[in-house]
Amino acid sequence: MLTLERVTYRYAGASHPSLREVSVELRAGEVLGLVGASEAGKTTLCLVASGLAPRAAGGTLSGRVLLDGEDTAPLAMHELAGRIGIAFASPATQLSGVATTVYEEVAFGPMNLGVPRPELIARTDEALAALRIEPLADRDPAQLSGGQQQLVAIAGLLALRPAHLVLDEPTAHLDPAGTEMVATALAGLAADGASILVAEQKTDLLAGICSRIVALDAGRAVLDGLAAEILADPRLVDLGVAPPAAVRLRRAAADAGLPPAALARLEGALAG
């Protein structure tokens, strides 16, 4: 379980905190979606949850971040690396910059952790297979498209086999097929017991994989509840978040006076 208890975080030199008294609980096997407008604090929350803030990002943190009940404050970043992984939106900066093949890039994290070689190979093969990118294994990561690089970065994260995953807009550079692939992989990981925190603008993706949603506004958690309820909450639009297509369709149908039965048929057709 990943727990943030009354976390307030201020970047070095910032005049005000980017997170204010945020409390979030992420249980094993749960996929928690994080939504909010730009600068609402989504990326900052991801950095704090992963341990990178304040360790690597600097700044000051108050409150507690607990990993399976253990306070992470005294732990070094490399001690957290095998337990909680993070992927960022920009694919190019997540690559190590030293691997000459995708295979080595995916293996980079477990190599750093000193995972024994047979297990290292097994983990790498498994991570490539999870995202169906085995055909890219011998390619130079620097020569891949942005979407392919993002899949490689996520595969590198999966190879670390962390119990907790933090993904900051992981599908920002992906096409619909790539997005679907990531969604399937995340659902599979959650089914295996991983807890996953996903900050995303694509609420359609969140509607498909999340059990709970937290909405942030100006660094505060203002909505927290079941995914279906939060994504249908009319206040979401005021927070600068576009609801999923199904919710917008339902609202448009209601506004147009469409009978519920016709709406259900329409939704069924779209889903099919």
């Binding site: 970043m77 910059g97 970065a153």
Partner: protein, 262 residues
Amino acid sequence: MPSFLGTPGPSGVHRLNPLTKAVLAAVTTALAVLVGGLIGPAVLTALAVILPALAARILGRLLRTALLLTLPIAVSVLLVNLLFFPAGREILFQVGPIRATAEGLRFALETLARIGAISGAITLFYLTTAPAALVLDLERRGVSPRVAFVVLASVQTVPAMVERAVTITAAQRARGLDTEGSIWRRLRGVVPLAGPVLLGSIAEVEERTMALEARGFTRPGARTLLWWPSDTPLQRVVRWLLVLAVPLLIAARALGLPGWLG
């Protein structure tokens, strides 16, 4: 492990352990400095550069690359020594106050022979060794993973920065920046290109650093290596013999032997 990792090169020279090739290049460089005259560097070039390059089937590429590498310095060495050699007595030709001397020409040719041997040795190493293979081999031998990372990342960053520069050039030209024409115009175009290339690279550093930290890069101790270049007992012996050649030659030069070394 996939077969494409650590694929052996197309020739015996490519397949040599990277450290063996690095030692060969370093020792050739040292010997080129130690030996004098024309014969010594020529023999050295033939044995340590031309023969391996022929075996690796890269002689043409090697000569082109080495020539490009040394041409500016070779021209300046030749002109400066030929025309301004202080101890020059035997005049070959004279243009106004400038006198070309035989002693200057001889010294220039000897210097060029050394430079040729050195650039040939370095080019041979560069053309037959993958940077990743060298770094992995050094890491296997106990070099810190961080040092290995810095070396490799520096090498790998160059193409990425070139690619970024090409993209920014295209974007700036699309917005009307003139990057062609006279030298002055080209120089004026450098600033709006260099700024975004450098600032963009610096801005990426923070996120890249965090991504590395999140992947356990700062963990103390040795990493697990997926693969490393092969090495043989014979190559180990050859490396030591090559290294021993340097003090032996220094001793020979100190004793004034042998004469053909200049």
